[in-house]
Amino acid sequence: MIYIYLKSFLLAAINFSVPLLYTASGGLILVKAGIFNVGMEGMMLAGAFLGFYGALITGNPWVGLLLAIMGGALLGLMLAYAAIFLRGNQLILGFGINFFILGLTGFFYRMLCSSGLITLTTRVKNFSPIYIPFLSKLPILGEIFFNHNFLTYLAILLVIFVNWFFYKTTYGLSLLSVGENPEVADASGINVYLVQYMSAIASGVLAGIGGAFLTLTQVTIFTENMTAGGGFIALAIIVFGKFQPWGMLWASLFFGAGDALVSQLQIIGIRLPTQITFMLPYALAIVALAGVVGKVKGPSAAMKPFIKN
C-alpha cells in the first residue's frame, strides 16, 4: 500500500513541477539579463490557451505547442520593448501583462464556448507518453520515472542546457555580465539591448511551453485562470534556487511535491483540516529557506533599465 501512495505522490509531484520548471527557466534567463519578469503568470496562461486552441482547431498538439511558442515569444518581445525602450517599471509592466492576458484568454475562451466550438465533450488531443525500450518496463522505477511525455524529459535536458549555456559559452557569459553590470558589458562590445531582447523572447517562449504543458499533457480542456498563481510560484522558485539552474530544478520539485503532498495526505486518510494541509508546503519552504538556502544574491542590475550613452 505504501508503494501505491508513494507512486501516486511522485507522479503527481513530477506533473506539478514540470510547468513550473519551464516557466522558472525562462524567468531565470531573463532575470540574469537584467529584467525581472513578473508577467510570467500571463505568459504561462497565454501558452496554456494557445496550446489548447491550436490543438482544438487542428486536432494536432504540435500545432498547439507551436502556437504557444509563438504567442510566448510575442509577449516576451512586448515586455522587452516596454521595459527597455519605453523604460516602463518592470513590476507594473508584469502585472499589466497578467491582467491583460487574463482578460484576453477569458474573452476568447467564452467566444469559443458561445460559438459552439467548445462543448462538454471537447477534448484536445494530448501528447502521449513516450515508450523507452528497456526502462519503461522496469518494475517500480519504470512506472514512476520512465512513462512520461516528451516535454517532461525535455525539461531535464533544458536544465542541463541552461547550465551549460550560462557557464560554458561566451554567449551565456555575456548574458550574465549584462545582468551584473551593463555599463561594463556595453563598454566591452556586447550589444546589451540585443541580449535583453533575445532573453525576453526566450523567457516568453519557455513560459508559453510551461503553460502549453498544462493543456497538452495534463488535462484536455482549458479553464479561465488555469495557472492560478503558478507564474508567481515560478518567481519564488528562481529565488529559492539561488538563481542557479540546478537549484531551480530542486526548487521546482520541492513546490511540485508540496502540491502533491496536499492531495496525498487526504488519500492516506490523515484527518487534517485541508486549510492546514495547504499551509504545509509554504511553511516547509520558509523553514528550508532559513535553514538550507540562506543568503541569495540576484543579478545586481536587475530591475534597472540600462541607458546606453
Binding site: 503527481a12 506539478f16 462538454l120 465533450t121 480542456i221 479561465e224 488555469m226 496525498q264
Partner: protein
C-alpha cells in the same frame, strides 16, 4: 514644482468636468430591473453556468431588464449591492450563500427593494432565500455508489472544505452509501477551489490508485476531468449537476445527481414578474423536483437489481420526510463516523 501644480490643476479640472458630465440624465428604463451578482466568473463550474443560463432564459421569456455582474469579491459586495440599489434595481439576486447575512443587513436599510439569495440560509420580508437542500441528491448518489462498488471503497471529491461540505454534502453521501452497503468505506477528498482541474485530476488518479472503483465528483469544473480520468482507468463515475454531463463519457457515467440551478433562478425571476415573490426561506429538494438522481440509460443494466430498488426506497423516504439531515448527522455521530 511647477509641473506638480500644472498636474494638480489639470486633475481638478478633469474631476469637475466628469462630475458635471455625469449628471446628464440617462433615460431610465421603465421595465422591471433585475440585477444578479455572481461571486465567481460565469463559466466557473457548472453551478454558476447553470444559474446564468436560467437568468438568460428568463431574459428571453419575460420583458425585464436583466443586468449581471460576475466575480464580485467579498470586500466589494456591500458597495456593489448599494450601487445596484441606487441605480434603481427592483430585484437583486445574490448567487452566493455565504452572502446571506450581508444581504439581510442591506435589505433592512432598503425595504423597498426585493432581494433574493440563491441557497441562502435565512429569509426576511424583502429577502427570498431559495435553494436546494445540499444533501438529498447526495444521499441518492451515495446509495448508487454503495450499490455498485465491488471493492467496497467509494470516492467523493468535493470542491472546497467548508462546514456545509462536511455537515450536508458529505454527511448525506456517507449515509446514502451505507444505506445500500453497510460495510462501505468512503474516501472524501477536497480539491480546494472550484476550478482547479489540475489538482482535481491528480486527486482522482490517487483515489483510484488507492482502491476506489466509483467516484462521485461534486467539484465544479473538475467534474469533467474526473469523468475523463475515470474513463481512462476503467472505473465508474457519478457527477452533478445536469444530464448532459453523461455526454462527456457515456460508458463511464452511471448516474447524474441533478440539480436544476437554472430552475431556481428562473423561478425567482418568474415570481417577481408575476408579483408573488415572497420573502422568507424556501428549501426545495427532491419533492419539489429541484434535486434528483438520473440513471444513464446505457448503463442501467450494470447497476445491481436490488440496488435501484434500494435507491428508490431511500428516495421515497426522503420525500416523505422520514430521513432528515439532522437524523443523518445523529446516526453517523452515534456510529462514530467522521464526516
Amino acid at each position: 514644482m511647477k509641473t506638480n501644480k500644472v498636474f494638480l490643476g489639470i486633475l481638478v479640472l478633469v474631476f469637475v468636468a466628469l462630475m458635471m458630465a455625469s449628471t446628464l440624465a440617462f433615460t431610465e428604463p421603465l421595465k422591471l430591473k433585475v440585477v444578479m451578482l455572481f461571486a465567481n466568473p460565469i463559466t466557473s463550474e457548472a453551478w454558476n453556468l447553470n444559474c446564468f443560463k436560467g437568468l438568460m432564459r428568463a431574459k428571453e421569456d419575460f420583458d425585464v431588464d436583466i443586468l449581471y455582474q460576475e466575480s464580485v469579491s467579498d470586500g466589494e459586495f456591500p458597495g456593489v449591492l448599494r450601487s445596484s440599489i441606487m441605480e434603481g434595481a427592483d430585484l437583486i439576486i445574490v448567487n452566493e450563500l455565504y452572502r446571506t447575512e450581508p444581504t439581510l443587513e442591506m435589505a433592512e436599510q432598503y425595504p423597498d427593494t426585493m432581494f433574493a439569495v440563491c441557497y441562502g440560509t435565512k429569509g426576511a420580508d424583502n429577502v427570498a432565500s431559495v435553494g436546494g437542500t445540499n444533501w438529498e441528491a447526495n444521499c441518492l448518489s451515495g446509495a448508487v455508489a454503495g450499490a455498485m462498488t465491488e471493492t467496497n471503497t467509494v470516492g467523493f471529491m468535493i470542491a472546497t472544505d467548508s462546514p456545509i461540505a462536511h455537515n450536508y454534502l458529505n454527511a448525506g453521501f456517507i449515509y446514502g452509501a451505507r444505506w445500500t452497503n453497510p460495510e462501505v468505506k468512503v474516501l472524501t477528498t477536497y480539491v480546494g477551489s472550484w476550478d482547479d482541474i489540475l489538482k482535481g485530476k491528480e486527486l482522482v488518479i490517487s483515489m483510484i490508485d488507492a482502491g476506489v472503483d466509483i467516484v462521485y465528483s461534486q467539484s465544479g469544473k473538475a467534474n469533467q476531468i474526473a469523468v475523463q480520468v475515470c474513463e481512462g482507468k476503467g472505473v465508474w463515475a457519478i457527477v452533478t449537476p445536469s444530464n448532459d454531463m453523461i455526454d462527456v463519457a457515456p460508458k463511464t457515467v452511471v448516474a447524474v445527481s441533478t440539480l436544476v440551478a437554472d430552475e431556481i433562478v428562473y423561478g425567482i425571476v418568474e415570481d417577481m414578474v408575476k408579483g408573488n415573490l415572497q420573502g422568507g426561506l424556501v428549501v426545495k429538494g427532491i419533492k419539489e423536483g429541484v434535486e434528483d438522481i438520473y440513471f444513464n440509460p446505457l448503463l442501467i443494466d450494470k447497476v445491481p437489481e436490488n440496488g435501484i430498488e434500494r435507491v428508490m426506497e431511500l428516495r421515497q423516504k426522503i420525500i416523505d420526510g422520514e430521513v432528515t439531515i439532522e437524523k443523518i448527522r445523529e446516526e453517523l455521530t452515534k456510529e462514530n463516523i467522521i464526516f
